[in-house]
């Protein structure tokens, strides 16, 4: 109390000081309500958002890397499988071709053999037919010549000898 009266006696500007302090406090409250509070909230929100976005970005990056790796693996696998398929297709095609070729060869061989056999048989038949024809003809000629009955069987050896001779000529 003494202090206050002393200050008042010296005309200490208490009223002004009080006014300034009160006004300043009111200003503080108003600014907090109008600017500081909302802005600080927004700044905090933004800081949170940025940090969470950064985290999210890091996560996405890792996921993307993982995906790329997976994709690469799958691609490699697919490529391998494809080349396997191609190789097996090639192999089977080759095998089929070879089989077909072998079958054809076999068939050709058999046809050839058959033909050869047929030809040989026909030749033998022809020769045999010719032989008997020649023998009969010879006998007929001879019997005509000799006017004598000749037995075919008796003369067979001689005829064969002639024919062999013919063969050689």
């Amino acid at each position: 109390m003494l202090g206050t009266t002393l200050l008042a006696a010296k005309e200490m500007p208490l009223g002004d000081m009080l006014f300034i302090i009160v006004a300043f406090l009111v200003l503080m409250v108003i600014l907090k309500k109008v600017a500081f509070g909302p802005l600080t909230k927004v700044l905090d929100q933004r800081a949170d958002k940025i940090s969470s976005d950064l985290d999210g970005a890091e996560e996405s990056r890792q996921q993307a890397e993982q995906l790329v790796e997976q994709r690469q693996n799958e691609l490699d696998q697919t490529r391998q499988q494809a080349s396997e398929v191609v190789a097996s297709a090639k192999a089977s095609a080759q095998k089929q071709g070879e089989d077909a070729l072998a079958k054809a060869n076999e068939r050709a061989d058999s046809i050839h053999q058959q033909a050869q056999a047929d030809a040989t048989k026909m030749k033998a038949d022809a020769i045999a037919g010719a032989k008997s024809e020649v023998a009969n003809l010879s006998v007929a000629i001879a019997s005509k010549l000799m006017q004598k009955e000749l037995s075919v069987d008796d003369q067979r050896a001689l005829i064969d000898a002639y024919i062999a001779d013919l063969d050689h000529k």
Partner: protein, 241 residues
């Protein structure tokens, strides 16, 4: 300083019209700017919000450079209000001064009045001492304030505390008062109304402009200094140096 003043009495206390009006006008401008610049704030800021956020960031970084994080956050609002009010108060007198016929200046920079700056520094120091007691306890606070770094420095420390108050308030007052004083001197000595002084009158305009620009700069610097010293005192007295 011997200028006439107009006072009124209210509740047994004497109020000075010029202080009351100047302070209220400055604060009204502060509030108007704040309301205009920070309407509907959003996470994705627009231009006006950016300007306000820049100011907020600035005051936060001033105080954040001096104090640990929790204290800085606690004093963010005080530093913001102080900076905003002081810078507007410093500049308003360059723009608007009203002197009535009775010789009383009703409107000027509030901070060109020693009472205002002393009140501001009393407020700052009261907060700094209060936070010192709160953080360190009364004994620790006294020891930290008076016996640090050595106990034989007690007299020096006492003087320092008194000097802190005077330098904090009178630095701001002196700078702003001198700036306005020189503005008035240039205006009234070279281009007073009703007299044409030839070359000098023409010279007054660029001189006035130059000095106004310089005072703007000084005003901003002083607001910055005032807030940074607030941070320093709080840090010192709460042992966070």
């Amino acid at each position: 300083m011997d200028e006439p003043t107009a006072t009124f009495r209210f509740l047994g206390l004497t109020f000075d019209w010029s202080i009351v009006i100047s302070t209220l006008v400055s604060m009204a401008i502060v509030v108007a700017i704040a309301v205009f610049l920070s309407r509907r704030p959003s996470v994705r800021p627009n231009k006006r919000q950016n300007a306000m956020e820049w100011m907020l960031d600035f005051s936060n970084s001033i105080i954040g450079g001096q104090l640990p994080k929790d204290l800085a956050r606690k004093f963010g609002l005080y530093a913001f209000t102080l900076f905003f009010f002081v810078i507007v108060s410093n500049e308003i007198g360059l723009l608007l001064q009203i002197k009535m016929g009775d010789g009383v200046t009703y409107m000027k920079s509030p901070t060109a009045d020693p009472i205002v700056t002393m009140t501001l520094s009393i407020m700052t120091l009261a907060i700094a001492h209060g936070i010192g007691v709160k953080e360190l306890g009364l004994g620790g606070y006294l020891k930290n304030m008076l016996l640090t770094p050595y106990s034989w420095m007690l007299p020096l420390n006492i003087i320092e505390q008194l000097a802190n108050f005077l330098t904090l308030s009178l630095r701001l007052f002196g700078n702003i008062f001198a700036g306005e004083m020189l503005l008035n001197l240039i205006a009234s000595s070279m281009a007073w109304p009703g007299h044409f002084n030839g070359f000098l009158t023409i010279l007054a305009l660029p001189l006035e402009m130059i000095w106004q620009g310089f005072s703007l700069f000084i005003g901003a610097i002083q607001a910055y200094v005032f807030v940074i010293l607030t941070g320093v005192f709080i840090a010192q007295l709460s042992g966070n140096e």
